[in-house]
């Protein structure tokens, strides 16, 4: 099997559609370990990549006024049981532009794999970036994933990020996002993670609402079972008049799992408002009993509730 075929197979395991990588009008970047296997630019989208000893440096630019019609597919993976992959990503959306990025990070055979993603993201005025990141780490749990992002949102810019890791094992996950939002900018950070066995999950998301009427939502849905551990730190700072932020964290635990939620809300301007809600516990008894009263077994009912929450 060629490298390309191997990564496509892995890409499919993480929910990606390999056919999408072959359409000429779909932007894409496929990286296996530190090799760029394919890269496709489309009109308005500039994509440059450079191989390094441990990974790849990539720059993605959406030109001023360009709305990229089709989602751009990004595929990062490590196929062997051991390895390291360091992705340094620079994303720039010039003013009045928009793009949707579908990233699939796949490590199906990981026994001792480290994946580090360091992203710098700049979203121009009245520009919009939707970033969906789906991970698949295989079933062995021997992986460490460290996604870090520094995001700057210019006035009226929008950033919607959706991180999902619900299939297979997590291994060790350490998310660290910092987002600065200017006037009338909007950020929405959603993370959904399902930890099992001895998985360790740490999610830290910090949102700085620095511009007037900036809006921010951080929403985490984490399920930990067996002996898995999770810690979710959601911080939002309301620093300007009319800024509105909300931190919403729900963690479900079963078995001997442990979960911690640390919401921090801070307001430095009297006309800003930031709220938070956090809940940790087992699946709600009433939800389970309602489903059981419709004929589902207890385990099935729990799966349905968890499946819905992580959908």
């Amino acid at each position: 099997m060629s490298d390309y075929e191997a990564i496509l197979k892995a890409y499919e395991l993480s929910g990606g559609n390999p056919r999408a990588l072959q359409f000429p009008d779909v932007g894409s970047l496929v990286v296996k370990e530190n090799k760029v296997l394919s890269s496709n630019e489309v009109e308005g989208l500039f994509l440059k990549s450079e191989e390094t000893s441990k990974g790849v440096k990539a720059k993605l630019l959406v030109k001023k006024g360009c709305q990229i019609r089709n989602p751009v597919h990004l595929c990062f993976g490590v196929i062997p049981e051991e390895g390291i992959q360091e992705i340094i990503m620079d994303i720039l959306l010039e003013d009045n532009s928009s793009v949707e990025l579908l990233a699939h990070c796949t490590f199906p055979n990981a026994v001792k794999v480290k994946h580090i993603m360091t992203a710098k993201i700049k979203i121009g005025r009245v520009s919009s970036l939707k970033y969906s990141e789906v991970h698949y780490h295989g079933v062995k749990g021997g992986i460490e994933v460290i996604p870090k992002a520094e995001v700057d949102i210019a006035p009226q810019g929008r950033f919607h990020n959706n991180f999902t890791l619900i299939q297979g094992r997590v291994g060790k996950l350490n998310i660290d996002y910092n987002v600065k939002v200017a006037e009338k900018g909007v950020v929405e950070l959603i993370a959904k993670v399902y930890g099992k066995e001895k998985d360790e999950i740490k999610i830290k998301e910090s949102v700085f609402l620095n511009g007037e009427e900036a809006k921010g939502l951080t929403k985490s849905r984490v399920v930990v079972i067996d002996k898995a551990k999770s810690e979710v730190i959601g911080e939002t700072y309301g620093n300007a008049p009319g800024a509105r932020g909300h931190v919403d964290c729900v963690e479900i635990i079963e078995g001997e799992a442990q979960a911690e939620a640390i919401p921090k809300v801070s307001v430095s301007n009297s006309e800003a408002k930031v709220t938070h809600e956090a809940a940790i516990g087992r699946v709600d008894k009433k939800q389970i009993e309602t489903l059981m009263a419709r004929g589902l077994g207890e385990a099935e009912a729990i799966d349905v509730v968890i499946g819905g929450m992580l959908k």
């Binding site: 849905r221 729900v250 709600d284 008894k285 009433k286 939800q287 009993e289 309602t290 489903l291 059981m292 009263a293 419709r294 004929g295 589902l296 077994g297 207890e298 349905v304 509730v305 499946g307 819905g308 929450m309 992580l310 959908k311």
Partner: protein, 238 residues
């Protein structure tokens, strides 16, 4: 069909239900009427087998089988179901998915089921059963899921509470259609209006069944005498 014999429920050393005897016959709408806080919902939870409502004394029979020790799931598999007074929320689960859990039906059929509870399928099938639906809407969706299940007996805990008068007629029609499809209904309420469709009414006061029989007679007794006495007893107990 459902027979309750000498059922007593004690929680935290307080007698919640005291020697309840009651029978719901096949294809009957049997109403349990009483003011708030007299133990009606507790009886529903005992019959359904909810956790925390395990009974120490008495027996519950369903179709001649002693189900007193059966789990909630086992009871549901026999054809018993319950619609809670306040319906649960389900994040990420659409109305369509939720109804599909109760039965295996195509979309058109699910639409018909929503019609039974006066919800427009075009507007509701793809919505989530979460806080974006009002309590009343979630209650209707739950009633629809009961309908989809085709239960042998449906225990409906206050389907009329939080429902406006116009919608009350729809809820009555819904209950009658459950009966038409062959289900028995154990209807729990504190409002007399919905009891018009009952075949039989049992009156509960202070954890006991104090009168049972002809709907007109029991309802009349409730209106004239029992409501005031029960409320007074409840206040004295508080």
């Amino acid at each position: 069909m459902l027979k309750i014999e000498n059922l007593t429920l004690v929680r935290d050393q307080i007698i919640i239900l005291n020697k309840i005897n009651l029978e719901v016959k096949k294809n009957e709408i049997h109403t349990l009427l009483g003011v708030n806080g007299v133990g009606k919902s507790s009886l529903a939870y005992c019959v359904m087998g909810c956790s925390g409502y395990e009974i120490k004394e008495g027996r519950i029979y369903f179709e001649g089988k002693d189900i007193t020790k059966f789990s909630l799931s086992q009871r549901a598999k026999l054809g018993i179901t319950l619609a809670w007074q306040e319906s649960a929320r389900f994040e990420g689960i659409t109305v369509k998915d939720y109804l599909s859990l109760s039965g295996k039906n195509g979309n058109d059929y699910l639409g018909d089921i929503l019609d039974k509870v006066a919800l427009n399928s075009k507007l509701y099938l793809d919505r989530e059963v979460n806080e974006e639906l009002s309590g009343g809407e979630r209650k209707r969706v739950e009633l629809a899921s009961v309908y989809a299940m085709r239960p042998k007996i449906a225990i409906l805990d206050e389907p009329d509470s939080g429902i406006d008068m116009l919608s009350l007629g729809k809820i009555k029609d819904y209950i009658l259609s459950l009966k038409e499809r062959g289900s028995s209904v154990f209807l729990i309420t504190h409002g007399e209006e919905i009891t018009e469709i009952s075949d039989k009414i049992s009156l509960m006061c202070n954890g006991e069944i104090i009168k049972s029989g002809n709907p007109n007679e029991v309802r009349d007794y409730f209106k004239r005498r029992c409501r005031k006495v029960c409320n007074l007893r409840k206040k004295l107990n508080e």
